[in-house]
């Protein structure tokens, strides 16, 4: 059975990202190109792209990116609703892991790359988050968070279960590019070893080691 890492690229597409929309889309297209032209990586890391603002949208369902013809354009706007996002991710993971197993994959623990430039606008997001990372749920994912712009470090320290990257003062557009490069390098490294490997040297970001799986 082939090994497979369910990977969720979760992007903040709220109104604060509107000025950086073009760079966001160019960066996503570049991610798509790099995955689609690396068969070994796209075979190992099945990727789903999720954009969130007031609502949550599965832009690309769990796929071999080589089979995805093009990356849809994301138009930013709305609030930064964390709670709905975590709730939807739990549903996606439940379904995607079952689908991958049915396709005879040995499925590794899912990994969420969470990219945001702001804090949550919903008050009760932590309930959904707890359900997502609840260790008693066998499919609970790793969360690797990248914060830039007005992202709140204290919030992201609670969200990141595996690693946290905080922009070191870089502008949002450079940070976006750096975050996607870091994400890609992590997937490349993981595909070589067959287990989650995090590229900790990410341009424009401070790597914050997560000492525990998650913080309540």
């Amino acid at each position: 059975m082939s090994l497979c890492l369910p990977t969720y690229v979760v992007i903040d597409a709220s109104s604060s990202m509107k000025p950086h929309e073009a760079v966001l889309n160019a960066t996503l297209s570049r991610l798509h190109y790099n995955l689609a032209t690396n068969p070994r990586v796209s075979e190992f890391a099945r990727v789903s792209v999720v954009a969130f603002s007031t609502d949550v949208h599965v832009v690309i369902p769990m796929s071999d990116m080589e089979q995805v013809p093009t990356m849809p354009e994301v138009i930013c706007g709305g609030r930064t609703e964390y709670g709905k996002t975590f709730e939807r991710l739990r549903q996606c993971i439940e379904q995607d892991v079952s689908t991958l197993r049915a396709q005879h994959y040995s499925v590794l623990r899912p990994t969420i790359f969470f990219l945001t430039d702001g804090g949550p606008t919903d008050a009760l997001w932590q309930n959904s988050f707890r359900a997502l990372v609840d260790r008693s749920w066998p499919r609970h994912p790793h969360v690797i968070a990248y914060g830039f712009g007005d992202a709140q470090r204290t919030v992201l320290e609670r969200v990141a279960t595996k690693a946290l990257f905080i922009a070191d003062g870089s502008d949002t557009e450079s940070a976006l590019s750096g975050a996607i490069s870091g994400l890609l390098n992590s997937l490349i490294a993981s595909s070589k070893t067959g287990q989650m490997q995090i590229a900790t040297d990410v341009k424009g970001f401070e790597y914050v080691q997560v000492a525990q799986e998650y913080v309540d």
Partner: protein
Amino acid sequence: MTDSVRTVGGADRDGGNSTSANGISASGSGASGNGGPAEDPRGWALPRAVALGDLGPLAEPISEHNGQAVAVRPLTDHPGWLAKLYRSDLHPEDARRIDLLISAPDKLPQADRAALYAETCWPAARIHGPDNPAVGCVIPMAPEQYRAELRRGKFSERRFVEIDWLAKSDESIRGVGLPGPGLEGRLAACRRLTQLAAILEALELVYSDWSFSNAFWSPERRSVYLIDVDGCQPKKMPDLHQPNWADPLTPPGTDADQYTDRYRLGLLVAKCLTGHRDARAFHTVAESLRQAQPAVCEVLLDMLLATDRERRPAAAQLNQALNNGPYLRAAPRPTRSPLPELPPVLAAPPVLPVRSVPSEVPVSPQPADTGTTGATQKPAAASHAAWIFVIVLAAILLVIIVAANH
């Protein structure tokens, strides 16, 4: 080409150095001993053991922290050559092993030596430092013919084409702007690959690292180029774990040997010949390839499924079969484990209703040519369904018309 055809001398032709049973030079200086090596036909000008300081300036790394290397850096004063610098935890005996590798081609027939030099990054010199006999080694740069422009959408990049691509369908390969190889192109590349494997096996070297990432492929020339060969070890070596390449008959924690190599080579060739990366590769070999290449089919199935790992046929057998030669299988036939279970046919993923989302949403309409974000949704499938619908509709109308006229 069979094992018996290849003769690898146990004695050191360069004189001076004693050679152990497994071919390792005991002098520590390899073929650069008393008699000195034959001149490197690739043009490496310095000795086969060279101090780091004698190499001249090193350019910026082209690769870092990859496997056993901390960096691979071009040699500014020696165009076309690279210094592969190892991690500091290599053992002193690695110096002797590298010397063995450097001198190994001297013992080969001319054709095999030429193949090894032209189609692998065979090390040319060991690099030593004041306190470290194996700082690294000098290897040639892969030839430019193994680079190609990979295009997808509006992006394009010139880079080395890994043999990974050969384990994709012709359609996928054409999808990034490379020419589709067809069966002939796949056979040609696999012939080169298996010839190199047969040479390594004749030298009693274990590679262990047969996989998609360690060979480049030239679709135009139908050739391959093997990299990371400086990691080869005599007889056996720690099994390099790579996901999806585990030999089911080499238990975790045990060494890889020639039989492990045979399994991985068989797996690589099966995937590259069929363009499938999962269990379908096995089934395609057993079914389609049996008609077109019966000897190749039998060799591959024995390599992949023999229940006794020591009954796996040699790389040279596979090379011979790929060159339309016979498979000379010792009796009785090895017993085989059953073919792995086929994965189910992929279901189409859920479709994002991009045109029906509320106004305050972050996703724009899809480009007109795709319509959906469904990964496995193919226009051909939709077209097929539409034709079925039209035919059924026409049949119903025909029945109504016939009924109405009676």
